[in-house]
Amino acid sequence: MVVDDNVSNLKLAGDLLEMEGFDVYRCTDAENAIESLRRLTPDLILMDLALPGIDGLQLTRQLKADERSKHIKIVALTASAMKGDRERILEAGCDGYITKPIDTRKFKDQVTEYL
């Protein structure tokens, strides 16, 4: 599952993963993702952090606190490079993070690492 409110970035990550042979569910915000997760159980969620409303880190905490979803791997997608972001991401319960802009040539390996 890819969660990103920026439609171009959502399309890029989604299309790229499909090209690499993954089944992809696309969500544009946290509510959308929570709704979809009632029906779906993805192996991994690629989570943009700057989501409108409930942000990526809040959503991560929520999912990691829930028995039904805590086993789902969550990898943050972030364009932020500020000091302390890494700590905030891991502290929220993310299993890892990939920085944007993504490298389309390494993306598959980066994602597979968490599966």
């Binding site: 171009s8 399309k11 890029l12 490079a81 993504i102 389309t104």
Partner: protein
């Protein structure tokens, strides 16, 4: 005061009347001494005994000079004669500081009032002596407090005139004390605010309480040299014998303003960089997919254009990353992560990544590394960045077929030099100092040919400065340049980085 019916016989005063007056004199909390024309004491009240430590018997008939410090005694008879020459009630000393001497020769500051008394024995003088030791101490304490205050302190009377300033005021405004005392406070207010100032003063005096001046407005003061400075002013009403005074405490906030502006700028740049990277993700990502033919073949033109899009996008990303790095360093948000590493390995690694670029221009890269500079303790990634920036610049500005030399050597105890010499276009002496200014690229004509952000050297210098190091350039136009970086072998956080920054960005 003139008392006409006083009688004075054998040293006894007010013998047959004015008992009340005698009681008053005896119980007065000040020393009262009656002295005749010849300077002999003919009466003292009981407070005089207490104040000076002499008994009444020891004083009566003695010369008044017995109560005056040794060093003033010689001149006193002249003053006394002058008083008797035109006797009228007045304060003694006319602005001079007066001191009295006790029986044990200790001195104390006094204020003395002189009153002529016409008696049957002729004109005498009644001296009323007030011990002002405590007042002087209080004044001295106040003076010390005001003087040692870290802020400029100005006392203004109800006519708006300056009556007291401290040393900080002189320092801040460039006026001497003498130039400020008795001047209207408006002297320190910029022209355009002078008109409104009296109305603010009146408003303050109508409701005087300690508060910050200006209520959210920006305040400015003007120095003697005409320079305006942003200030913060605290106002305190003071009630004194001189009437209602206002004590203004003034802080120069120029430095704070600069820091605040820098912080805002850095935060703005950091946020902007983040916002700018987001759309670049799609630009770079999709162009990569097309370049890699992940969605089918492109014709030659299409491939060329999409490569241009990708190259420009990459360039923009480098620019944004450099701005972010620079703003983080300027905001003091960069923390070095120090580790020990073999400098030769890092130099070889960076050189290898840049060899393809050098090869395109048939540029040869050689190195001469000192064995004495081996394991260093620095921020490895930042060191790599310094080397990468300098080496890629050397390649960029070298003519095809040129030669680049990387050298290391020991410097003074604990320091080493990394130098990179190219055989490039060189830099005119006049331009050397512009090199490290962000966004300044030398010669706009060249900028097209040698595309860059204009941030690389500014960033490099900042990284070097974070390590307390120095970067210098020597260059001969047409022949080439040498960039030398002096760095500590083992970095220790001892010297303040701000000292270094001020040196470099002061101008």
């Amino acid at each position: 005061m003139r008392v006409n019916d006083t009688r004075m016989i054998n040293g006894e005063i007010f013998r047959h009347s004015e008992l009340t007056f005698q009681l008053i004199v005896e119980s007065a909390p000040n020393a009262m001494i009656l002295v005749n024309k010849e300077g002999k004491i003919s009466f003292v009240n009981s407070f005089t005994e207490k104040l000076f430590g002499f008994s009444r018997a020891e004083l009566i008939g003695q010369s008044i000079e017995i109560l005056i410090p040794q060093r003033y005694r010689a001149r006193h008879p002249d003053f006394r004669d002058a008083f008797f020459h035109s006797p009228q009630a007045r304060a003694m000393g006319a602005g001079r500081e007066l001191f009295a001497s006790r029986k044990d020769s200790t001195e104390f500051p006094v204020e003395i009032g002189l009153n002529p008394l016409v008696t049957v024995d002729g004109t005498m003088v009644l001296a009323v002596i007030i011990d002002i030791t405590e007042r002087k101490q209080a004044e001295e304490r106040l003076r010390l407090v005001v003087e040692s205050a870290p802020n400029a302190m100005i006392l203004v009377n109800q006519d708006g005139k300056i009556t007291l300033v401290n040393g900080q005021t002189e320092k801040l405004f460039g006026y001497s004390r003498g130039e400020l005392i008795h001047q209207p406070l408006e002297l320190l207010i910029p022209e355009r605010f002078k008109v409104n100032h009296p109305q603010f003063v009146n408003a303050f005096l109508a409701m005087p309480k300690a508060r910050a001046m200006g209520a959210g407005r920006e305040l400015f003061a003007v120095r003697k040299d005409g320079l305006e400075i942003p200030v913060e002013i605290g106002l305190n009403p003071i009630h004194s014998q001189e009437g209602r005074l206002v004590l203004a405490s003034i802080v120069d906030i120029t430095e704070r303003r600069v820091q605040e502006a820098n912080r805002l700028k850095s935060n703005f740049l950091a946020n902007m960089s983040h916002e700018l990277r987001t759309p670049l993700n799609a630009i770079l990502g999709f162009s990569e997919l097309l370049i890699d033919k992940r969605v089918g073949e492109l014709n030659a033109r299409q491939a060329e254009y999409i490569n241009d899009i990708h190259a420009s996008g990459s360039h923009l990303l480098r620019l944004i990353n450099n701005i972010l790095d620079l703003s983080k360093i300027e905001a003091g948000k960069t923390e070095l992560s120090i580790e020990s590493f073999a400098i030769g390995e890092v130099i070889a690694g960076v050189t290898n990544t840049l060899i393809p670029l050098a090869d395109k221009k048939q540029i040869q890269i050689t190195s001469g590394l000192s064995e004495a500079v081996d394991i260093v303790s620095l921020d490895k990634n930042k060191f790599r960045q310094i080397l990468y920036n300098l080496l890629s610049n050397a390649i960029k500005f070298s003519k095809p077929g040129g030669l680049i030399t990387i050298e290391t050597m020991s410097h003074s105890e604990g320091w080493f030099i990394l130098s990179i010499t190219d055989t490039g276009i060189g830099i005119a002496a006049a331009n050397l100092r512009k090199l490290f200014i962000p966004f300044v690229q030398l010669d706009s004509g060249l900028a097209r040919e040698y595309e860059g952000s204009g941030l690389g050297l500014a960033l490099t210098q900042n990284i070097v400065a974070l390590h307390n190091g120095e970067i210098t350039v020597k260059s001969v136009p047409g022949e080439g340049s040498t960039f030398s970086v002096k760095l500590p072998v083992i970095f220790k956080k001892n010297i303040s980085r701000h000292e270094y920054k001020n040196e470099n960005y002061g101008g």
